[in-house]
Symmetry: C2
Subunit: 366 residues, 2 copies
């Protein structure tokens, strides 16, 4: 156990400093005393990497300064422009700013990598390389990046196990809503036979707007104007995002060994206003449903569901209904995204990693 | 650690052998291999007590026989009428059948008491005496009986802590729906600021029927005919049951030290069809809501809630919405009752007790 003044060290390398990364730093700042009081944990950010550079301090970055530097200069690399509060003796920030992320992950002493780079469902990069590098160097990994998991979750879990470290990913499904935890920890003794869920808030918002009479294009534009949809909304609209989350749930909750290739999926691009009105006549609402049935077939597709089902939520909400052997149908509903929400999921994972470390797990550092 | 052939012993005294108790035995029978495989646990029922007598076997009761005896003779005491399969040398079943429950709890060697006698909100008996006797004799307790907790939860938790044993009660709120676990384990790192819920299925069924146009009396009769309401439905109708569950949630989730006396509650007896129709005009539905607000005031009362809120479930469903500091509103929905559902909650608690025991907690047996 790596103890220091009675508490377990938790040194973090944060790669990706967008909305989620910055909210994590805000959370660590505002909750520092409380986190120590409740969980005996003093997380210390020793390196932060964004697309333009790196900020490093083995004794812990000044979080307030890090946020300010990012806001004023657009990159954490500027942290080292003024050496105040940072170790310049053994680590040259300017040099780190130019060196590769992989080198930071390999060379900076840390217990955990927090991976928060954008999701890429083509080849999973740069997240995939970041995660495998960290694991191979004996670091625990907390990721909110769906790409690497969607494409290679079975092998990543195996790699983590082989290297004696933890790989956690609460924030990849449901944002701050603890959907994975609920299924994995709250139903022990029972067995989940199947599940179905609304896993993508953007498409759910669009379908909810169409329910109110907008056409697909009008609803998409409305979602764009509210910031719910990207300039290229294909990840959401065509079901990729929901399929990636389904893969993560299938591996983690059902113990399956699957990737995106094992999901049959279809988005909402072809859903017409007429389909929605027709469904309405029968008390149904069309939703983009990701499902794992009793035969463990994985599907994402628009489906009519009963409007009185607990699963039938509107707006950007996410919802999952699990069918269990003994307790029947259980539904969890919450916001599916959001910077602070997702950051709180990272904190949850960090607490789990820290507790495992205090029991001697996940300490296999090289 | 009490080890035997490599596994941790888990000897159970079951007091109360009604629907829930019998379903627990069915569950232990049907899932024995799976429970051992997944949790390394071989629970052994060493004594079962019902209102008419006791069945005892220190080497473990024959579960199939126990169920049959109960079905044919109406009491487990008949288990000892035929000594086949039971130890008659050191324990005389007929004698046990006549002796007090407290003596069984004190004298039979066991790690856990499962308390499943009916809820009594006047003085908590016989559950309260059973639980305190067990705790004082160093036995862990798993209870599905709300009475003792509603009336004395703070002191019972203290007593358990003082005696180094565990007191668990998953099945008291939400039946098989893991509402307490969700709040306690899935939101670590975040903070629950307040919550509100539909905690009583019977009143929710009655209000749902009134929504469809029945009067209160018609709806109550309908609930009776379906077996949802007791002959004396006061526990449900007047809000006692929901208040008891609210007390348990407040103590366990919010760390409050409260009993029934601290809840302001009102049932649904005075809800008129007109109130429901008037609410409907404004897109609202009247539900019996149990709540703990940000100032930690505890209330149970009929309230109009928005029909599109995730909390707004129909029929006998239960639902709770938690408001968290970082992750927003999170809702859990499921069946709130049922013999097998509640038995699965007991199994969940037994697994937790067993795991704590294997780490040296809850082993403080005299």
């Amino acid at each position: 156990m790596v103890e220091e003044e009675g508490w377990v060290k938790l040194r973090i390398i944060l790669v990706g400093f967008g909305v989620v990364g910055q909210n994590l730093v805000k959370l660590l700042l505002s909750r520092a005393d409380d986190i120590y009081l409740r969980y005996g944990m003093k997380p210390r950010l020793v390196a932060t990497v964004d697309s333009k550079g790196v900020a490093v301090s083995q004794s812990g970055l000044d979080l307030q300064r890090l946020l300010e530097v990012k806001r004023f200069y657009g990159t954490v690399a500027a942290y080292h422009k003024d050496v105040q509060g940072c170790e310049s003796a053994d680590i040259d920030g300017e040099n780190y700013g130019r060196c590769m992320v992989k080198e930071v992950i390999r060379e900076i002493d840390a217990e955990v990598l927090v991976e928060a780079t954008p999701t890429n469902l083509n080849d999973g990069e740069p997240g995939l390389s970041n995660i495998t590098t960290a694991i191979k160097h004996g670091r625990n990994v907390v990721t909110v990046n769906k790409g690497p998991l969607a494409l290679a979750m079975p092998s990543l879990l195996e790699l983590a196990e082989y290297n004696g470290v933890m790989l956690r990913f609460s924030g990849t499904v449901g944002g701050g809503t603890p959907i994975l935890e609920f299924a994995k920890h709250c139903l022990r003794g029972d067995r989940i036979l199947s599940f179905k869920g609304i896993l993508n808030g953007t498409t759910n918002y669009i379908l909810s707007m169409m329910e109110d009479g907008l056409t697909f294009d009008e609803a998409l534009n409305d979602a764009r104007s509210k910031g719910y949809a990207e300039a290229d909304p294909s990840l959401d609209i065509d079901g990729f995002d929901a399929a990636a989350k389904l893969v993560i749930m299938a591996n983690w909750i059902m113990g399956m060994k699957v990737t995106m290739r094992d999901v049959r999926f279809k988005g909402i691009r072809d859903v017409r206003l007429e389909d929605i009105l027709e469904a309405k006549k029968h008390g149904k609402v069309i939703k983009l449903i990701a499902s794992c049935d009793e035969s463990r077939r994985l599907k994402v597709e628009p489906m009519g569901i009963d409007k009185n089902e607990p699963l039938c939520v509107n707006g950007t909400l996410n919802a999952v209904t699990f069918t269990s052997e003994h307790s029947g149908e259980l539904t969890v509903i919450g916001k599916g995204a959001g910077g602070m929400e997702t950051a709180s999921a990272i904190l949850r994972d960090l607490i789990e990693v820290r507790e495992a470390m205090s029991m001697g797990i996940g300490l296999n550092r090289s």
